[in-house]
Amino acid sequence: MIVPELGEYALILALCLSLLLATVPQVGAMRGNTLWMGFARPLSKGMLLFTLISFLCLGWAFLNNDFSVAYVANNSNTALPWYFRLSAIWGGHEGSLLLWVLILSGWTVAVASRSRGLPADIVARVLAVMGLVAAGFYLFILFTSSPFERNLPAFPPQGADLNPLLQDIGLIVHPPMLYMGYVGFAVVFAFAIAALLSGRLDAAWARWSRPWTAVAWAFLTLGITLGSWWAYYELGWGGWWFWDPVENASLMPWLVGTALIHSLAVTEKRGVFKSWTVLLAIFTFSLSLLGTFLVRSGVLTSVHAFASDPDRGIFILIMLATVIGGSLLLYALRAGQMKSESSFGLLSRESLLLVNNVLLVVVCATVLLGTLYPLIVDALGLGKLSVGPPYFNALFTPLMALLLLTMGVGAVSRWKQTPLSLLARQLWPPGLLALGLGAGCAWLYAGELKPWVVLGLVLSWWVVLAGLRDLYNRLHHRREKLQGLRRQPRSYYGMVLAHLGVAVTVVGVALVSVYTEQRDLRMQPGDSLSFRDYTFEFQGSTPVQGPNYSADQGQIRVLYKGEPYALLQPEKRHYAARGNMMTEAAIDPGFTRDLYVALGEPLEDGAWAVRMQYKPFVRWLWLGGLLMAIGGLLTATDRRYRKQLRPALAQAEA
């Protein structure tokens, strides 16, 4: 069948359209030619259409087990269930890049169709920049990583199978979410570049790009959360964050993106920090690009590493240099034109948000240093080394603690100027209460005060209580409190939810880091072990058969305070196609604790190495991430953004 060739042709057509999109509207905007500018929207739609066709062709090849396509042969197998065959599209380097451009062209069309209220030249420029980014990726795919390459005439009768680690619901959703976030930052990047190109660096571009940034950030948050959750049950033997370079690659754009969201708010509301915000937009997208490539190029020593290929590395470097260098050059040429529209005092919401920005950027820089340092040292031929998690923990924790502290102060501060006396008057009750509640909760939970737990809980309460004080400030002069609540804009509730999410995550991090209990033990059938009110009784293992694997299933009876509680059945799977061994943990989830059991390796006489864990409040990590993501999405649906998108409708309402 020629379907894979159709896919390749569709991709080439998409490349042509993206090149047109990158040039025609841009030239039109420079010359004031409305006709040329008008090409932007139809061209983006065409680009999406052909990318989608290409993507569907690859999907068709996977569904029909067309092993003459090398990528399919490397990542699929006839024994693989159909849903994993579909998710295998993004199981490797080539296909995940195709997903990347598909999402990028999707975002491009979303901007094209939701920008009716914007000036035509801005729309043309924004779409042109996105077309240019897309063109880079199409070239990359077509020249170095085509997923449609054939293995003819001697193609294998059976595929090599999808990596068993990736045969999981987590992989079906995690990469698309993450990419939605990475690629979504292309929108705010395009807005920033368009603003620089047009020289119209007023606060309006901040208002236009805010909802897009919030949505992209929400998806990235969700993607990281899903990744952590997936690592926890599938890969990590119960760990939820490893400071693995690949995790760092997704955390860095998140950190700078968080700074960007806050700085955009200041730029829109007060007309200051303009050049800083533009710079952050450039950084966020550059780090997203870096992240994509770090993960997929295999330059890093990482649990995720894929096979590497030097051609790709060169292309990647050229493309990164072009995007980052080009946008920074443009920035250097144009940033001088940006003027602040107002001023602000030393103690004000502006300066507190600046502190937030500085902290987030510094955290990102330390993570970047720790991630790239081994690469740089290796490239210079100074030896091979790795940077351990203690480095990241030692810097991340105190900086984040500082950030949480300013979060509380920032919540009640005012724009322009905030008297110190006002802050002190408003913040001492939540401060004292947070100290009391934080220490109290830590004591109630464990009957002891461990410094890190107390710090985490106090800061979480501080963020929540200072937020409540802010709510009180907003309502106390109103007579109708409920109506006052309803009057608050959605973006306010979005912020509240996101900040609450941070507090929830911090509680999870503090408790699970300090109070996790873990036992690795050699267990014979009949052996049992008790800790934390739970008894784990190993009853041996039984063989079971799955669709494309065979497994030993451990039978572990759990007693709670001597009463039968549950049967946990962790598995050690053997995937025949690649000969891989896989550990499938058994988890009893709960709101305040997880029980986590995994089989290590089989030992003689039916004994197994068994890992048993008690993980307090581990679900809160991801619950917090979920809250943050919902907060981001809620913010993006705020009325004033919808108004600006449909000015005609808004006028009719009024």
Partner: protein, 153 residues
Amino acid sequence: MTPKRKQRLMMVLFILAGVGVAVGLTLFALNQNLNLFYSPTQIATGEVPQDTRIRAGGMVVEGSVKRDPDSLFVQFDITDYDNTVTVEYAGILPDLFREGQGIVAQGTLNERGVLKASEVLAKHDENYMPPEVADALAKAGKLPAPKGQEFNK
């Protein structure tokens, strides 16, 4: 100085101080947590300081894995086909740990020249060797041909 300039100066000084402290802390933390990679030959020739956290990598020698019958204690040798180092580890080995396969162990060297590992890492892919190990083997001229050929490249 006008009040506005003064305010800006304060702002800049504040940021500089913050960045300075951060850079200092960062470099300190980085220095404390670097784990250098050594090959078995480097360890055998005594290049490696004792009681410092290092990473060592090589192929697990066939038939060298000895388990304690009552606990999870395990002992094995890793080699770059020139020299061999003994590794001791108590805990669960990764799924891809196998004799004849490349691994990286992280830990400290004791006075007998035995690596007390706190972590043993193996890789996802069956054909895949940790890059440091591949590099060390290539240097020793002992890089074996890949076991399975992937379909493209």
